[in-house]
């Protein structure tokens, strides 16, 4: 042990001491420089949040994205599902692959507060709508969407939203244009009933749209796009495109 120490000492003292100190100083400065850079540059979050009513197909979509198969089926989720996956197209690209962190928040109304935990870090939100059973749930879906669109964390960060009309593999599923129109109409009505007279509207933090005009998604401060998908059969190309666009490596 002592011999070993002696040997190191000798080896260290070999080159002139100043050079050694200079080398150490350069190393330290470089390290400091990089660590400061990493701290200052805000790391772009790679979280995508899946939200929607209970039964719209979020968990199926989640597993389709992560594992490419919906497995044996799903039941109503009680806890959020979190997972990371790498988009297959990125595997072709060279360089650092950034895995996408996907969060599936339960849609049950009593579990809604869990959404507030994940929204502030989201790079994008995917709102899943059941296009098969759309009309009975239209109002509930519109209310949920309205609540999301008026949350402070969404509006301030201008998080992009993709409305996915799920279950399009079935014949009786509605088209995305129909769903878009219905949702806009419902949100318009919600606007009038929520902003009736009170200036202190405690329910929502921001107001949507332009007063006096009918509401359209283009009036939102967040960018809202609409797409079709089918979680069961795996036709989720538009969803993947959205993720690719908004999660930059």
């Amino acid at each position: 042990m002592e011999q070993w120490m002696h040997q190191i000492e000798q080896w260290v003292r070999q080159p002139p001491v100043e050079q050694l100190y200079a080398a150490l100083a350069v190393l330290v400065v470089t390290l400091a420089f990089f660590s400061i850079l990493r701290l200052l540059k805000p790391s772009k979050s790679a979280t995508i949040v899946l939200a929607g009513l209970s039964g719209s197909g979020k968990t199926t979509l989640f597993f389709q994205l992560c594992d490419d198969s919906p497995h044996q089926g799903t039941v109503t989720s009680m806890d959020p599902n979190e997972g990371t996956f790498v988009l297959h197209s990125e595997l072709e690209k060279k360089g650092k692959l950034k895995p996408v962190h996907l969060v599936d928040v339960p849609g049950h109304s009593q579990l809604r507060p869990k959404l507030d935990e994940f929204l502030p870090h989201a790079a994008g939100l995917i709102f899943v709508v059941d296009s098969l059973d759309f009309l009975p749930n239209c109002r509930a879906a519109a209310e949920y969407l309205y609540d999301i669109l008026t949350k402070a964390s969404m509006v301030k960060r201008k998080t992009p939203i993709l409305i996915v009309c799920n279950k399009t593999d079935r014949m009786t599923a509605h088209s995305k244009e129909f769903i878009k129109k219905q949702l806009e109409k419902e949100i318009d009505e919600l606007r009038t009933s929520r902003n009736a007279i009170s200036s202190a509207d405690i329910a929502n933090e921001y107001t949507l749209g332009v007063p006096g005009e009918a509401f359209t998604f283009s009036q939102c401060r967040n960018k809202v796009t609409i797409a079709e998908a089918s979680g069961l059969t795996g036709e989720i190309s538009q969803v993947k495109q959205f993720i690719r666009d908004h999660v930059e490596p």
């Binding site: 209970s54 039964g55 968990t59 597993f63 594992d67 497995h71 044996q72 089926g73 799903t74 039941v75 109503t76 989720s77 009680m78 806890d79 959020p80 599902n81 599936d104 339960p106 049950h108 109304s109 009593q110 579990l111 809604r112 507060p113 109002r139 509930a140 209310e143 009505e189 919600l190 009038t192 009933s193 929520r194 009736a196 007279i197 009170s198 202190a200 509207d201 405690i202």
Partner: protein
């Protein structure tokens, strides 16, 4: 036999299923179980009953948790079968599956074999138990055979409520063998629909004779689901027959004579039906500013670190030792939570809840449910048992108190307006809780949102009720529909709604008389009012001062409304209006009791006696106050 056994994660992914004969289940019982039982913190109950909506089948579900791995095991079987081995089977499945479980795997095909073996073992054990019990009970069984046959015949269409008595509880007695024999015959009937309630009494009687009535498993689902049409028809028919017989014999209410003084004339001081009269009274238009519904609530943020110290200071002596050992284990981590660890923390929590005026039964059930969800979980490092329990309870309370459905009444009013009908709200409750006062507050709030309101004075019993409402209506300058006293409230309500259609009012607020939940004729009258008029919202008005009686009130109200309903989908209580909230300082437990027992959200909170004292329930502050 067992219809299905599911293993799924808490996130919702199904890991493994077993299906008998590949039959798909009718309806979606597992989703219903999750929504109405597990998420509502009723997971400490023994079983859950589910009626498929199309009237196909009725199932009983049992479940088990593996909290550490985050798995749920659910067994589904036909309700008429009394499978004794399900609990054991679930425990065995949980044990075996936790050995082969791997978070990254999603397919577990090899489990089929293991499961088949476990099932055979469990069935064999159950058969043995049954045989041994049957041999013990052979003599009395023969004697009892006559009883059920006769009673089944005479009982006719019994209530379906009794079926739950037999199901779910593993009675494990000799009669179950007979039950299976009978039920095989009735199972064919069961498939045809719920009309076969004639066979149901045989199971009902059996359950009663077992002498172990199933009281523990409270089933909100039962209240909200279809009731057998046969049962209903007989009740309604019986009730109708009785009523028609009673009609010609109706005795007019005699004025009570207190002493020998000559009887006075009628004590009805109602103004002769003219609501425009009384020029003497000043019409003071009530404009007291903004209702508190629309004001932002200032929530004081207090530090939450007080709770842990409180728990420890409760029992200094024994707690010290417990604190040390728990501290040690918490640092070490990897401690699996056992029932014995949870009991002291849960007992302390339960006592704390009860000091906050939560009903004892509710606090008990809640603590049981939280224990069920925590047992077997691994303690994270640097966390104590008490803090884990506290977090779990807080989450559970938040979940229960968050409304299941939208409480945005204005939106519903707009929707009804578009359809051209008035939105009808009926205020029900026991005596003296504040129905009329809060009705006026709701009217004031609606008026502020440019909704035209009409009041209906269907409290035709209490002296001064109609005048009270008339005064409110005058102050708020809204129309009131009244017919004086001693009229049938149901008819008055119907005519009020027709009047509202005519003068196109948006909302009709119906005031009813206060009634005790045990009073059968009054509850029947209320049920008649609700059935006849089919209101959009049945609001139960309960005062925040109520203690354990809240449970009794709400459950009996719901029960009577369900039993005496003439339609299959009975109208139950849709929302709760909590009154006299300003009189309790921090004993806010009544809100929790009421929401837990009925499943209905709290829509309004009355916090004073003037028009503006109406606000929404702030869930986070209530939870914080409850756990302080």
């Amino acid at each position: 036999m067992l219809e299905q056994l599911l293993i799924f994660t808490r996130g919702g992914l199904i890991l493994w299923t077993y299906r008998e004969l590949g039959n798909a289940l009718k309806g979606s019982p597992v989703d219903a179980l999750i929504r109405s039982c597990l998420l509502e913190e009723r997971s400490a109950e023994t079983s859950f009953s589910y009626d498929a909506p199309a009237g196909g089948a009725t199932y009983t579900l049992k479940w088990a948790f593996h909290n550490d791995l985050g798995l749920v095991f659910v067994a589904v079987y036909q309700r008429i079968l009394h499978l004794l081995y399900v609990d054991e089977l679930l425990a065995a499945v949980r044990r075996e599956f936790s050995h082969i479980y791997d978070p990254k795997r999603t397919a577990y095909d090899e489990f089929d074999e293991i499961f088949r073996q476990l099932q055979k073992e469990a069935e064999a054990r159950a058969e043995e138990m049954r045989k041994s019990k049957q041999s013990n009970r052979a003599p009395p069984v023969a004697g009892k055979k006559q009883g059920p046959g006769q009673r089944a015949g005479s009982q006719g269409n019994g209530k379906k409520k009794g079926v739950k008595v037999g199901s779910g509880k593993d009675d494990g007695d000799g009669e179950s063998g007979k039950g299976r024999g009978l039920s095989n015959g009735s199972s064919n009937g069961q498939e045809n629909g719920i009309e076969e309630s004639s066979r149901v009494p045989s199971v009902v009687v059996k359950g009663n004779e077992n002498g172990t009535p199933e009281v523990g498993a409270f089933d909100v689902n039962k209240l909200q689901k279809l009731r057998p049409k046969g049962g209903k028809k007989s009740d309604a028919g019986g009730g109708g027959g009785k009523a028609s017989k009673a009609e010609p014999k109706k005795i007019l209410k005699k004025n009570r004579v207190w002493d020998d003084s000559p009887s006075k004339s009628r004590l009805d001081f109602t103004d002769p039906g003219d609501e425009k009269g009384d020029n003497i009274v000043d019409v003071v238009a009530a404009d007291q500013g903004e209702s508190m519904m629309d004001k932002e609530e200032i929530v004081s943020s207090e530090s939450e670190s007080e709770e842990d110290e409180e728990v420890e200071s409760a029992k200094p002596g024994t707690k010290k030792k417990g604190w040390f050992s728990s501290m040690f284990r918490s640092i070490a981590g990897n401690a699996v939570l056992l029932r014995s660890d949870l009991t002291p923390a849960l007992k302390a929590l339960k006592d704390r809840l009860m000091t906050k005026n939560v009903a004892e039964e509710i606090a008990e059930k809640l603590c049981e449910s939280v224990a069920a969800s925590l047992e077997g979980k691994k303690l994270g490092s640097f966390t104590r048992v008490s803090s884990t329990v506290q977090t779990a309870m807080e989450e559970a309370l938040l979940r229960i108190l968050t409304p299941k459905r939208s409480i945005d009444i204005l939106r519903d009013v707009h929707a009804a307006k578009e359809q051209g009908k008035p939105y009808v709200i009926v205020f029900v409750g026991v005596n003296g809780v504040g129905k009329s006062t809060n009705l006026a507050k709701v009217a004031y709030w609606l008026l502020q949102h440019n909704v035209s309101v009409m009041m209906a004075a269907c409290d035709t019993f209490r002296s001064g009720a109609v005048e009270q409402l008339r005064t409110h209506a005058r102050r708020l300058q809204i129309p009131i529909f009244e017919k004086g006293y001693e009229k049938d409230p149901a008819i008055v309500a119907r005519e009020a709604i027709q009047e509202a259609c005519r003068n196109s009012s948006d909302v009709v607020l119906v005031d009813t008389a206060g009634r005790m939940q045990d009073n059968e004729p009054l509850m029947r009258a209320l049920s008649k009012l609700i059935n006849l008029n089919n209101p959009d919202l049945v609001l139960f008005v309960g005062e925040a001062l109520v203690g354990n009686d809240a449970v009794d009130q709400l459950s009996k109200f719901n029960q009577k409304l369900a039993d005496l309903s003439t339609v299959p989908n009975a109208r139950l209580i849709d929302g709760i209006l909590l009154t006299k909230f300003d009189t309790i300082d921090d004993k806010v437990g009544a809100a929790l009791s009421m929401v837990y027992i009925s499943g209905a959200p709290v829509m309004f909170v009355g916090c004073g006696q003037s028009y503006t004292d109406l606000k929404k329930l702030n869930v986070k502050s209530i939870v914080k106050t409850l756990l302080k």
